[in-house]
Amino acid sequence: MTTPPNSGGPSEAVVQDFANMSAALTGFQPSFIRPFLDPVNLSGTFYEFAVAQVGQTMMDALMSAFDALSNQQPPLSPQQIANTLLEVASSTPSQQAQLCQSIVAMWYLGSWYPPPFQKDGLQQVISSQAYTKSLAWNVAQAHPMGFSAFTFGYWSQPPGSLDTFGVNTGGGQ
């Protein structure tokens, strides 16, 4: 067999940092957003996609803001970090907060919803796996149309707990 070249991409540390921020923003467990073994690598895909949309400079600034919040003492909860980044108390969120909203939507819906400041942005589904693995299905303890990981007759049984779907319910991570 012919081996294709491996494509370059962001470093492991950058992807892990983005995953940690995404976990805080979405309310999911970090280990679900970026599993120990991650053959799907949505964190890497989403990071690269967002950078291509808004530019490296803006993404670096957002990650720096997240890192600063993560390193605060006493430690902030993921919810507190998310509230700060999303500027939930503000009726006129900054461009950085708008980017955070788009990142949340990206994780939940598998699509890019351009932030208001991205004038030439295009709403789009990021990939087939981004769709089938979008978090909205997990919160609903359900599955997307046309793709189910459950076995026949699953609908006759109660769904698993939200924890088993990766949601951070506060029961530990």
Binding site: T3, P4, P35, F36, L37, F150, F152, T164
Partner: protein, 454 residues
Amino acid sequence: MGKIVTIIMLVIAAVTIVITTSITSTTAPAADPAIVLSSNIPGDAQFGQLPPNATNEEKLLAIQGDFDIYSWNTFIALNWPPLPNGNGDPQKTIGQYGDNDTVWEHYRNVEDIFLPGGAKPTYNGPVSVPTQCKASYKPGMKIISQVGKTPTVLTAFSQPFNTGPLIDQNGNYTRYEILVNKPMFDYILQNTLYSKAGQKVFSGAVKFPCGVLGGPEGAIMVKAAWKVISPADKNRFHTQTVLVYSPASQNPKYPASCSKKLMGLVGLHIGHKTNSASQWLWSTFEHVDNAPTEADVSSGKLKAKYNYYDPKCSAAKCPPNQVPPRPWNPTKVSAFHSQVVRMNMFKGNEFAFTSAAARNADALKLLLGVSASSVWQNYELISTMWPTNTGQCQASPGDPLGTPAPNFLANTTLETYIQGMVPNVSSNCIECHNNATMTTPVPSDFTYVLQRAQ
């Protein structure tokens, strides 16, 4: 930390973010896994130590490597010369005389498990011989029979999802068979799952036994693809003289027939349920001459001859991976020849390519060391699909598929027309088999064979 780190331990460590002493072994560290010439069928994969500070890609590559070693060790053991009882003969070696009878061909063919009227099967009893084959049949001879077409079931000359037959460059239809090992057969027998009536009264969940590292093997399913070959090609294939049976058909109309053919093995799927893979481990091997890759075609680096590709025919004249036009008549030589190209299904999962290539090179050295004429040197591992997120012999409730790696996997002789990277459409062993049920609407634990019950 001990060198044996099971996948479940890794996953537990990941999801709890607590490096517990549960993965610390006080026993002497075992040797890292390696491909070996042995008749022992591995009960499960063995895991080596991960590189320190490994990236996601490096971790996946390392563990994929362990699973690919497991696959090659399984392939070697299943293709080992057998004793009269069907187990591997430790006094002999695979390929020492070029070709040899194999262990897996002594497994029970599903044709002889799901019998008419739901009759009770036996593991070593006589095989069903169609009337048209009786004159040519001799005890021990393999019969590849066409069964009634059942949607989503691999039939004798059609493929999953009834996508169509595969026709070689000589116009002959590829034939298939499915066999199961004794632990899988015993589970079917003990739970009376060989008949519709038995399945109807079965309560609970179907749970085939899991293999254990260093212990007994779990349930194993083997699917084999065979093509007609000429005697001149015999030294490149594992071969059998087979009775090829085609039952009568109304559309197109042809009578039942049976003919003796020299067949060469071109594809081999091995599914094994193990402790580290309640979604089963899926190893798939092919003959090295089956088809070029997309990259081979675009670069023009083609062999002079393939089993399922004509290098002299342009893409315009011979578009790749097309289902043969109907009518399909396996009793006649077809004017249509399948033009098969192996699609790149590992984009984003390049570790699967890298690992398989390395393990194939290791295995080739070992097999050539036995004999330069070993036919087994002409087979290659395409990859092993394994769950990255699973429990000890049971799935995680929120992730029944276990997030398989690689994301997609296809054998060009068994999933010719469903290669690709589209979820729920392209070939993914675990995703597809997760949909399997018995003849009752009860999940059948990743096997479709129970649908054959009568």
